[in-house]
Symmetry: C2
Subunit: 79 residues, 2 copies
């Protein structure tokens, strides 16, 4: 079973990496870019068949290791 | 308009960050994790209304700046 995890900075948290991307894109002529935010994307390969249980386990992984919940949100998709 | 870009390492490219995540999760007792791969996730806020044109522009951004196409794949979603 595959799990896809998106980890993004919470609203209001400064994102210097995103700002650098937006600035570099503007410098290349992509001036339609109003804002850019960079997050992380983690794909997990899981043993087991129970999707609901897997989702709960991956959420626990986010809480314990993958995300810094003070400044980051996470979203888990199974399948 | 929002664009979501996923940048992932191509198959066969070593992913030490993913290996570190898998190892750390195993150490925390999440032994159902067979493999982990880490990629990047970029959200762009775009001016303009034409989704098809925006997708082509964001693909050009990936080619020119966001992805290293020698070792990375990218996927663009608009909306």
């Amino acid at each position: 079973m595959k799990a896809r995890v998106h980890i993004t900075l919470k609203k209001g948290v400064l994102d210097p990496q995103g700002k650098a991307i937006a600035g570099a894109l503007a410098g290349l002529g992509f001036d339609e870019v109003a804002d850019a935010r960079q997050g992380k994307f983690i794909e997990l390969d899981l043993k087991g068949e129970d999707a609901a249980a897997a989702k709960a386990r991956v959420e626990a992984m986010c809480q314990k290791l993958l995300a810094n919940t003070v400044i980051e949100n996470y979203a888990v998709e199974i399948g």
